[in-house]
């Protein structure tokens, strides 16, 4: 049975709850490593890594919940990611990151196909890690995902050891949607009707695939609810730095970087 005091408490709780939702969510950074990689001399940590064009898609969410991919934002976020990654791996001399090397048509085609396969491999790894079922999480813990040996030719032709994939998504609320969220908070306070705004999740991942074996040797993700904005170079740097902290191999040896 509701009295005036209970309704006021309810409204206050609703307002506070919505405010918390809109103000920002928690971030989760996770890194996974193929533990069986590196067990033979041929499986040395990569020294020269080919950076595939990032697949980072930023969307605007309108007041009514319509989602639109925005190419210029996506390009900006991709550039932020590349810059941050170059900076992070360079400072710690983890490996040499090479973007846009000269590739033959055959090698480009092979990379395209393997990028398409990576979308499924990365999705599977992430899906298993994030599953509510223990069985899949245990499977993910045995981190032996692979793209198969089909990139050996690219490795030989380019003298590179590994390929790195950057994949990300962000949903940025439009001014109208933010207004709707504020309006919703006010409406809740006034009317007691709570309209919870949908979250604006941010997802970034980096996957390092050894081209000699196909093994996904390092996979890191950062997932955030709330109001991250990957157009912001500072936000992207924080994400990338956090993920790079999970890289397992440390600095490359001093004589690394010589052409094979």
């Amino acid at each position: 049975m509701r009295g005036p005091m209970t309704m006021a408490t309810f409204r206050l709780a609703a307002v506070l709850g919505l405010t918390a939702l809109v103000a920002g969510g928690c971030a989760t950074t996770k890194g996974s490593v193929n533990q069986s990689f590196g067990s033979t001399p041929e499986q040395a940590p990569p020294r020269r890594v080919l950076l595939v064009e990032p697949d980072i898609r930023l969307h605007e969410v309108s007041a009514g919940g319509v989602v639109e991919k925005i190419d210029e934002w996506s390009r900006q976020a991709s550039q932020n990611a590349v810059n941050s990654l170059q900076d992070a791996v360079g400072k710690q001399t983890l490996f040499e990151l090479v973007a846009a090397p000269n590739l033959t048509e055959a090698d480009k085609a092979a990379l395209d196909q393997h990028a398409a396969l990576y979308a499924l491999v990365g999705g599977s790894a992430h899906g298993a890690q994030a599953s509510p079922y223990a069985a899949w999480r245990q499977r993910a813990a045995t981190f032996d995902y692979t793209l198969g040996p089909g990139l050996q030719g690219v490795a030989e032709h380019t003298h590179m050891d590994a390929v790195l994939f950057l994949v990300g998504t962000d949903y940025i609320s439009s001014a109208g949607r933010r207004a709707a969220m504020v309006f919703g908070i006010l409406a809740a306070a006034l009317t007691g009707v709570v309209i919870a705004p949908a979250g604006s999740p941010t997802f970034m991942s980096v996957g390092l695939v050894d081209m000699r074996t196909g093994a996904l040797i390092w996979y890191a993700t950062d997932i955030r609810g709330g109001s991250s904005d990957l157009r912001d170079a500072g936000v992207m740097k924080e994400l990338i730095d956090g993920m790079v902290q999970t890289y397992p191999y440390g600095a490359k040896p001093a004589d690394a970087g010589k052409t094979k």
Binding site: L120, G123, S124, P132, A135, W136, R139
Partner: protein, 186 residues
């Protein structure tokens, strides 16, 4: 993460399915209502998705998946709204299954039938088809389907995987499962 197939994956790995996935620790598995039994690869995950469909996968259904389905003859091919009959020839069942797969979406509609031949499953006349189509990123997906009738039920045993590395990698495991499949007489 964004693709529709990944959404399907998340649904399968989330709480929306009928039963929880469990690891295959003993090879022999029974279907729901114990209508059939089959050997599944050890170490894979198996999950009864609905009362009609079981899934088994090692790395996740985007990478390789065995689907075992049992439907009533009347509802054998729901997308094309056709049924099966016990007196149908194997080639007729294959034709209907191909139509069913083609009707799944724009991309499967453009599939190529690579192989189509008679087979035996659990001592019953069956068909085996192999089809190929591409996903939105141009990755070729291969699919082998065995299908047969038993009394008033239509059984299908499918293997789906990207052609690039995964299909050949686990295809022998799938064929072992098919060879082990037994309809349980009641």
């Amino acid at each position: 993460m964004r693709h529709a197939s990944t959404i399907i994956l998340m649904l399968l790995l989330s709480g929306c399915a009928q039963q929880q996935p469990v690891r295959v620790d003993t090879p022999r598995t029974e279907g729901p209502d114990k209508n059939y039994s089959v050997d599944l690869p050890l170490g894979w995950m198996k999950q009864q998705l609905t009362d009609k469909t079981m899934l088994a996968s090692r790395d996740g259904p985007l990478l390789e998946a065995i689907y075992i389905g049992r439907r009533t003859a009347k509802e054998a091919f729901p997308r094309i709204k056709k049924g099966a009959a016990d007196n149908m020839l194997a080639s007729e069942l294959a034709e209907l299954e191909i139509a069913e797969v083609k009707s799944q979406d724009t991309f499967t509609a453009a599939l190529t039938v690579l192989e189509n031949e008679p087979a035996l499953v659990s001592s019953r006349d069956a068909f085996r088809i192999k089809v190929s189509y591409k996903n939105t990123r141009g990755l070729e997906i291969d699919r082998v389907i065995y299908g047969f009738m038993d009394a008033s039920s239509y059984y299908s045993i499918q293997y789906i995987a990207p052609k690039l590395y995964y299909f050949d990698r686990y295809y022998p495991d799938f064929e072992k499962s098919v060879a082990s499949f037994q309809v349980v007489k009641k």
